[in-house]
């Protein structure tokens, strides 16, 4: 294990650099995790609604207005249509409801209920529209069977007041898991940068042309030397990966021991293999130690930005995502997002995850093949 021992010695001589690099990456990972809003609860905002009532305030109209009032914020009626349009334009109101003169009669005669509306078309306007539609749908159902006005309105109100209680049965701590996903997304940069920087540095030390010649004339089999070097690099990559796994357990706790957590860990392991093979390829291509930090920045930072390690993929333009498809990081981060939305585990839900893992392994295989071709060409 001469090569392995020398590897450890060289790594030890650069421990300050390795520790500094790792601490900075971990710090940023933790910082990124704490500062991203991972909240899963929300509160619906009431839309601002303006009601223009051209009808007398009869019971039917009154009942409709009361329902709308209950679920929205009613704004004061503007005098002119121009003023109403301005209010809509400047988003002072989201929705304007025009109640026609014959609203009550139409309602009682069984004609199709309708009101005119004006909308900003935004989320809150949609909410207002949903309320109107809901009221009319319920009213239409009862109107055909109940003829007494008072009973009809009472039934409509009773039905509309009914609420369905929904309980989220997932055992997963959604908030913690979202943090874990963020952490593992950031690990794309940390693992890639760590692997590329250190492994390239070590490979360039051991495979520096003059040193390599000494090894080739020695009595150690060159394949054995390569095996020892590969073992050392693999061990380093695994230790680096383990550090991140342990850190994730410390930061988010038992979430990492759930099925989804295990998938995140497995996905990061597969990605580490891919990063290791990429680092070996670069290490065999570039032997200039001064160029290492530049290469790390281009590869690790570049792929992290392109593939959504720092910014969620939803916010990235389509052309960027298309470019990202040729990078292993894309499949790793995409997998993390798939795992984050994994509610039940069955063949159907895990199939795309395993497919992405397969693509990551394929990338690794291709990097190994390319490394072998380059090494053979150089040895000739």
């Amino acid at each position: 294990m001469t090569v392995f021992k020398a590897y450890l010695k060289i790594l030890n001589k650069n421990k300050f650099l390795v520790i500094l690099y790792t601490v900075i990456l971990i710090f940023f990972a933790g910082f990124n995790m704490q500062n991203n809003d991972t909240g899963t609860s929300f509160m619906a905002e009431k839309p601002d609604v303006l009601i223009v009532n051209e009808n007398e305030t009869d019971n039917v109209t009154k009942n409709f207005i009361q329902y709308i009032e209950k679920h929205t914020t009613i704004k004061e009626v503007q005098e002119t249509e121009e003023a109403r349009n301005d209010a809509l334009f400047y988003r002072d109101v989201n929705y304007i409801i025009y109640i026609p003169k014959d609203f009550k009669n139409s309602f009682l005669e069984g004609k199709k209920l309708n009101v005119e509306i004006k909308s900003t078309g935004d989320y809150q306007a949609s909410l207002a529209e949903m309320l109107v539609n809901r009221y009319f749908n319920v009213a239409n159902i009862y109107r055909n069977v109940i003829k007494d006005e008072e009973t009809l309105l009472e039934m409509i109100n009773t039905t509309l007041e009914k609420e369905v209680f929904i309980e989220v049965t997932s055992k997963l701590d959604i908030e913690k898991f979202a943090k874990a996903t963020l952490f593992y997304n950031f690990a794309n940069y940390s693992i890639l940068a760590g692997c590329v920087f250190i492994i390239c540095f070590m490979v360039s030390s051991f495979k520096e042309q003059k040193v390599k010649l000494r090894i080739m004339v020695s009595s150690i089999e060159y394949k054995k030397f390569n095996r020892q070097l590969l073992f050392s690099n693999s061990l380093f990559a695994i230790v680096l990966w383990l550090c991140y796994v342990i850190l994730s357990i410390i930061l988010v706790g038992d979430v990492m021991f759930t099925n989804q957590g295990m998938f995140l860990i497995l996905n990061s392991f597969i990605f580490t293999i891919s990063a290791l093979t990429l680092a070996l390829l670069i290490g065999n291509l570039v032997h200039n130690k001064e160029a290492m930090s530049g290469i790390v920045n281009v590869i690790a930072l570049g792929s992290s930005f392109l593939c959504g390690a720092f910014v969620p993929t939803e916010f990235l333009p389509d052309f960027v995502l298309k470019i990202a498809h040729v990078l292993p990081s894309y499949y790793y981060i995409h997998n993390n997002d798939l795992i984050a939305s994994l509610e039940t585990i069955n063949l159907e839900t895990v199939k795309p995850i395993f497919l992405n893992m397969g693509i990551l392994l394929f990338f690794g295989f291709m990097f190994v093949v390319m490394t072998n071709i380059i090494t053979k060409k150089r040895n000739r």
């Binding site: 001469t2 030390s205 040193v211 090894i215 004339v217 150690i220």
Partner: protein, 312 residues
């Protein structure tokens, strides 16, 4: 005496250009063989073929009586190579570097420790054990390079220009170390540009040019090939064309060269040539500063054989 290396009709081509053109050579056990030749003469290519670092088109190479091949690890175990370029790890100390390269041959930790100590002693790096390569001067680095190549006590050592660009102190130290290696029974193949080193160290010299062996023998045998007995160099104040013609006609004089007040007189044979020349200077009242006589060097041999200097 047994042959440690036997090379027969070695041919190595690079895109139809013969870098090594049918070289045959033998190295006997315990001898120091000097490989001399200008750049591009085929020295390094020959050594790289012998070490199986390069494939070759034709010929056979045997080391210790066995065919040499890239996977002949039992042979490689007995070989030490000191390359011209310093090949060490910047991140390891002197001691750690020697330990690593020795560890490629010797697994036994205790034995290795002993060998490392001896190698450090041999190249006189005791005070620099804990130094990093960056902290060493060029000469000390060369010594470390040698220690890394020979720490495992090989029976056959290749030294490729180990004294290039080193200070006189380190050079003497390196030459002393090589003498010690010979005393310990190692067979050495030594390539250099420095003729003085070859004359001091080598039992036998092979001169290469354009991929071919053009001379092979002991330094004295090779000097016989120079076709001259003596060379006298004089720094003169001034001399006329007529006087130069008369010197050319002196007894035993073969050729003369005069350039920038330096006169070189070459004698093919005879004795007391220097006295005859001084007598002539006295008779003609020619003033001179420095006058010395020298025997032919290996460079003269090379000049005689190829018409060019070794360092051309």
């Amino acid at each position: 005496m047994k042959n440690v290396i036997e090379v027969k009709n070695l041919i190595k081509e690079y895109k139809n250009i013969k870098a090594v053109d049918g070289i045959s050579l033998e190295v006997k056990k315990g001898e120091i063989l000097g490989l001399l030749g200008p750049n591009g003469s085929g020295k390094s290519t020959t050594i790289n073929c012998i070490l199986s670092l390069l494939n070759f088109e034709k010929g056979t190479i045997q080391i210790f009586g066995k065919p040499m091949a890239p996977n002949a690890y039992d042979i490689k175990r007995e070989i030490g190579v000191v390359f011209q370029d310093v090949a060490v790890f910047e991140e390891l100390t002197v001691e750690e570097n020697i330990d690593y390269f020795c560890g490629l041959y010797i697994n036994d930790k205790r034995l290795r420790k002993q060998y490392i100590e001896e190698a450090i002693e041999l190249v006189s790096l005791n005070e620099f054990k804990k130094f990093y390569p960056k902290q060493l001067s060029g000469g000390l680095l060369r010594r470390l390079n040698i220690a890394c190549g020979i720490a495992h006590k090989p029976k056959l050592i290749f030294l490729d220009e180990p004294t290039v660009a080193v200070d006189p102190q380190s050079r003497n130290n390196i030459l002393d170390g090589i003498e010690k290696l010979r005393e310990n029974g190692a067979t050495i193949v030594y390539t250099t540009h420095y003729m003085e080193e070859v004359e001091i160290l080598c039992d036998r010299v092979i001169i290469l040019d354009k991929g071919k062996v053009i001379a092979n023998g002991t330094p004295d045998e090779l000097k016989e090939l120079a076709n001259m007995e003596e060379k006298v160099n004089v720094e003169v104040d001034s001399i006329t064309e007529k006087q130069l013609e008369e010197i050319k006609k002196l007894k035993n004089v073969d050729e003369i060269y005069y350039h920038n007040q330096n006169l070189t007189v070459i004698y093919k044979k005879g004795k007391n040539n220097l006295i005859t020349l001084i007598d002539y200077f006295k008779k003609e009242s020619i003033l001179y500063d420095k006058i010395y006589s020298e025997r032919p060097t290996l460079n003269d041999v090379f000049l005689e054989l190829t018409g060019k200097e070794l360092r051309d």
